[in-house]
């Protein structure tokens, strides 16, 4: 099916790639359908989470484990329940990226990862109460090298 997007224009997506977010995403609770648009460049870890119905609603996302090898989270029971997770292989995690004026100061939200059950096509932004992580974690250590936690 074709969808309209502000970032990519009109694109073709396969219906079986649509992830259903039952509760939407905090701030956008009415938007329930999203697709992950992977970067065409396989070496570029930045992808997009695009709303199917709202062309302007798109988040830049990364797989946090590719950047922060120490990132470790415990999914709460409510999440396992709501996303109908029955085994680890179903789980895909992304975190939302915020890019300010100075690109090297970009941050990612490690407190609110986007958790997807790729098999059941269900997703949710999980809010962790873990004070090791923040909503604004620098992706690049501030001397410009790709950094750790």
């Amino acid at each position: 099916m074709k969808i309209n997007t502000t970032n990519f224009g009109e694109i073709e997506i396969s219906k079986d790639k649509i992830i259903y977010f039952q509760e939407g995403i905090p701030g956008f609770e009415k938007e329930k359908e999203f697709v992950v648009i992977l970067n065409e460049d396989t070496e570029n870890p930045f992808h997009h989470l695009q709303s199917v119905n709202n062309p302007k609603l798109s988040f830049i996302i990364i797989n946090p484990f590719e950047i922060f090898s120490d990132y470790d989270i415990s999914l709460p029971d409510t999440t396992i329940d709501k996303l109908k997770i029955t085994n680890q292989e179903q789980i895909v995690i992304y975190t939302i990226v915020l890019i300010p004026e100075k690109m090297e100061k970009m941050t990612t939200n490690l407190t609110g990862p986007i958790v997807i059950n790729i098999e059941k096509k269900l997703g949710k932004q999980v809010i962790l109460d873990d004070n090791r992580y923040s909503t604004k974690h620098f992706i690049f250590t501030q001397d410009s090298k790709v950094g750790g936690v």
């Binding site: 460049d41 930045f46 830049i60 409510t78 939200n109 407190t111 109460d129 604004k136």
Partner: protein, 74 residues
């Protein structure tokens, strides 16, 4: 919004299966105990609002694939 007054040790029941109990009242703070099924998510409002705010800010991030690639190579 429903507004009720409770004294220490009194409770409120939501939906027949969630109990909110006033445990302690002290110095402008109230300690609340919540008994709810595992499927119910409970969190401090500020935490939810922070995530909401961060999401709204993130939507306007501009993405330039080439510039990002250069940064990654450093």
């Amino acid at each position: 919004m429903l507004i009720l007054t409770r004294k220490k040790n009194e409770s409120i029941i939501l939906n027949g299966n969630i109990e909110i109990k006033i445990i302690e009242l002290d110095d402008g703070k109230v300690r609340i105990g919540i008994d709810a099924p595992k499927s119910i998510e409970i969190m401090r409002k500020e935490l939810y609002e922070t995530i909401e705010e961060e999401n709204k800010k993130a939507v306007s991030s501009k993405f330039n694939s080439n510039d990002i690639k250069k940064l990654l190579k450093k």
